[in-house]
Symmetry: C2
Subunit: 588 residues, 2 copies
């Protein structure tokens, strides 16, 4: 069926919407794809539904090819299962909560692990019913604090979420791989470049987890990769520990006065002035050990103050800290925390604890002390002495102090080593376009999903979770494919195959254009036909460029001589083509 | 693609779910179409999605054929527009309300008049942009008090809602007719018998309104129809007023003692005993005028006590009363109401008011008195005298008393006249399957949707609203099409064209069945193939009957000789058919 602009529910805007900050938001509103209903909540106009529908079809086809069965869950779900898995609380303000008329608690589901788990529990009883992969394409809800990026991060959004169910770890690995492969096919079909990075499990908890990131300067995620093929979310990067150094023969530790050295820079300058090294090398920031005081709070609400020693040329990365202390909330220690722990002498905190009594230092008794993985036995440091206005130099790990454990939360830099020995890493920016994730047995355990195994023994099922934000992908495609005149959709999701423009007031030209539209339509080409009789060519051309159908055919003055003009919006090329040859351009 | 039961997300149940009261609920759960998530909230399994998808396709095709454009609105909507139209309050407990993290009020939309109106306001500015019809197929929410009928009345349900926008009343009439025609086509395609009845507008307010009712004994709606073609919801039926009778020559009214006559029956018996008629006829209930005391409450909360006189052989129908007092809440007067109005002598209330002073009766001064349309001038009645233990006989309308107006709220009976003179009506039960409704300018007025007319003058747009409950229709189809063994879907929405069962342990038979499945599949026949190797024929047959694919092909013992058995679930016929002839049965 030909879609005629003279009778289509569409209005293009010349101005960007006031609340739009990103290109996709501006263009999708201006070109009449979506309209704002509330912050982060959009209504879909016919053009928008077409593109979204094509995206969903591609995703659905690849899910089915991967052996997943389509189901559909409600947006409105009861509290109890989310209570059982802890997510009712964990989600915090991002969860829309409500009550029904009887006062029962409900939520608008942000993802559906619980619902899928319970349905599978209801259906499946034996390992013979597994493996099983299910998916849905469904509208989800998250109460984002500042929903300002249009479809990139809405409060109501469409997601494909899939879940796999297996009796064994090997089964999970295979189901995971099938989904991972499907994701590769989906993004390839959409022409989306991607890097698969190891990802932090974040709030979800579990084992293997990978994100599909689109490398782009405007991405909100940082990832690292090596030339040798390593790639990880910056939160998931783990620095390999270097080999320990020999302790024997190292100079003895010595305490020195260090007034007015509030920063690493002032401390280094002071050390170079008062403590010249025997070998003449200057001290620098990497020779100092910076002691970061953090407060971590367990899910049960217990707050603990910990000190983490990291090389002084790095800072703590709070997002990486949240991974290092997975499951805990992490924040810098507050004044109140310091008051509770008078052993922490601000500006002069050191790694030596009272029980070790090196050099008579009292130390930070009773507080856990953790070390960056680089700070191995045998390394020597300038660091705080736990005494006001005093530092200590040549303090050697394994000789003068030791730690309670490791915490890898220092900032990551270009040139840091990949953990798999594949060379130095570089950091880059990316946008998440998909996430595959081995949940393991967390949800099955919490909700009692067990099956009988080959030996007739009940075993807990292990699960995977696989998500693609459909509406988010649509926004990302708009971010990637536009110019200053408008959108330029990839063929795979373009709302139409051709945008056919009839110009001028000549009835004969309109007739030729209409015939061409019919010919294309009969051949199965999806035609958007701008047949508006009283709209100027300039406005029609502007709309054609804004709307983003990748190929535009203009039937105008030259039509009488048998020619049309064909625009390629991607290359900008405009070509005079015989009318008779136009259908062949579209495979018709 | 062949769907194989050996690898399908399906489990059939032998027992009805405990919370299911209606056949569709029981069968859709037992046959593995849906699963309960919360009261009135369901998850959809693959079989259920298939049927729902086919229903949606039929509805979508007919909407597009009717010239409507598809859009999609969020389920989560802000309060303000619903406040502007009054529905935020009007919906009462049936509306799911919630707040976001900033404390802003939201709702889960029960219907989308407001959202459509605002989007059209955003897009449309001139009568030239009209007429316009939009539709969506979308999940809606209503917090039903007792959601116990499965998909018949869920709290989350899928609806097709369409809205038309016109500059003129004639335009609305045409848009309405186009939707009404589309509904006729949809229900015809679904094989659903329907009666189009005039309907009360109910809470929505507006002008023309019709319901598509499926006539069925188990329907929750009562409607009336005449042999001559009149049909109306029982709430919308309006009794035609008979002609007035001559007043001259009627006997004079007379008050008589009537102790212990609490009911119409006792009153009639007493009257026959103490007041024999001159012509010897007996008094009967139809000669008495029953005075109903109601309390009506305006949207602003003002409560008024009114009295309505109806023939004593009828009762008041509170649903019809709500239509008679449209916009007001109606309930029987309470003891408190009577206390406030001592003029109302319980058991002896009459139509004479103080100012008329017939026979010296004091009457019910200051209370509005309304009459059933049948109680016309010149009719004479036995009715209350407003004095304890006294009634009055031969009280003639238009001579002894008059009313403040008409209220048509008496019960409706078989044999009552159709208002259009098309003969006596009969009452019947039906189930609502669709609703078309001229909203008029209510929503456009409240939300400021205006366009420039031909003369450049701003005019308010007039709207229509057209709804079909998709999931409800699915339940209704299940109600209509099942037997004691299971579902029997109509072809138009059957999840598959054929349910192919391979029985026995013979590998050769399995092979023959698999080949048949391939042949059918290649010809475009949708095949559900029960290839489960270790399931007994009895269980397979039971599942085939329960699932409801209308035609079942059994490949078993006779396969070696080249025969299959073909079942027609509708007729129950089982026929031996040559394997080679099976594809032709499915047009393949």
């Amino acid at each position: 069926m030909i879609t005629r602009l003279s009778n289509y529910f569409l209005k293009t805007l010349r101005e960007d919407p006031a609340d739009a900050e990103v290109a996709s938001h501006k263009l999708l509103v201006r070109a009449g794809y979506i309209r704002r209903q509330a912050p982060g909540v959009f209504g879909w106009m016919p053009l928008g539904l077409r593109v979204k529908g094509k995206l969903e079809t591609i995703i659905r086809e690849e899910m089915i090819a991967a052996g997943a069965h389509e189901v559909h869950f409600p947006g409105l779900l009861p509290r109890e299962p989310y209570e059982a898995t802890g997510r009712w609380e964990e989600y915090g303000d991002a969860l829309f909560r409500l009550q029904d008329r009887h006062g029962a608690d409900y939520l608008l589901a942000p993802t559906h692990e619980e619902a899928f788990t319970l349905m599978v529990k209801d259906i499946v009883s034996s390992y013979k019913d597994l493996p099983l992969s299910l998916f849905q394409i469904q509208d989800k809800y998250r109460d984002e604090a500042r929903p300002r990026a249009g479809l990139l991060r809405g409060r109501e959004f469409t997601m494909k979420d899939a879940y796999s169910f297996d009796a064994t770890d090997e089964g999970l690995a295979a189901s995971y791989q099938a989904q991972r492969d499907a994701y590769e096919r989906i993004f390839t079909r959409l022409g989306l470049e991607y890097v698969i990075v190891s990802a932090d499990a974040g709030a979800m908890g579990g084992s293997r987890s990978e994100e599909f990131l689109l490398p782009t300067e405007i991405g909100e995620d940082t990832f690292v990769r090596s030339a040798g093929g390593y790639a990880a979310n910056v939160e998931a990067y783990q620095v390999p520990a270097p080999e320990a150094l020999p302790i024997a023969g190292q100079p003895a530790a010595e305490v020195f006065d260090s007034p007015n050295t509030p920063t690493i820079e002032t401390l280094v300058a002071h050390a170079n002035a008062v403590l010249p090294r025997a070998d003449g090398r200057e001290w620098n920031a990497a020779d100092t050990l910076k002691n970061i005081v953090l407060a971590i709070t367990s899910p049960a609400g217990e707050r603990e103050v910990v000190v983490v020693g990291i090389p002084g040329d790095r800072d703590a990365d709070l997002k990486r800290a949240e991974v290092a202390f997975a499951g805990f909330e992490v924040e810098p220690a507050t004044a109140a925390d310091f008051e509770k722990h008078p052993g922490l002498v601000r500006g002069y905190i050191g790694p030596v604890r009272g029980e070790e009594a090196v050099l008579g230092l009292e130390g930070t008794t009773g507080i856990r002390y953790l070390l960056d993985p680089r700070v191995v036995d045998g390394t020597a440091w300038i660091t705080g002495a736990n005494i006001d206005e005093k530092h200590v130099a040549n303090l050697v790990v394994g000789r003068d102090f030791s730690a309670d454990g490791v915490a890898d939360l220092a900032t990551v830099r270009d040139g840091d080593p990949a953990p798999d020995d594949s060379g130095p890493i570089e950091t880059a920016r990316g946008m998440e376009i998909g996430h595959v994730f081995q949940l393991g047995r967390k949800y099955a355990e919490a909700l009692g999903l067990k099956v009988l195994d080959e030996n007739g023994k009940l075993v807990t099922v292990t699960m995977g979770s696989y998500g693609i934000g459909v509406t988010r992908i649509m926004a990302i495609l708009a971010e990637l494919h536009h110019d200053d005149r408008g959108l330029i959709w990839p063929d795979a999701v373009a709302p139409f195959d051709v945008h056919l423009v009839a110009t001028g007031k000549d009835a004969a030209i309109a007739e030729i254009a209409a015939e061409l539209a019919e010919t294309l339509d009969r051949a199965g080409v999806e035609v958007l036909f701008d047949d508006r009789p009283k709209v100027s060519p300039g406005v029609k051309f502007g709309d054609a460029e804004l709307l983003g159908v990748p190929r535009v055919v203009v039937v105008g003055r030259d039509a009488a001589e048998g020619f049309a003009e064909v625009w390629d919006r991607r290359t900008g090329a405009k070509e005079k083509v015989a009318l008779a040859d136009v259908p062949a351009l579209f495979g018709a």
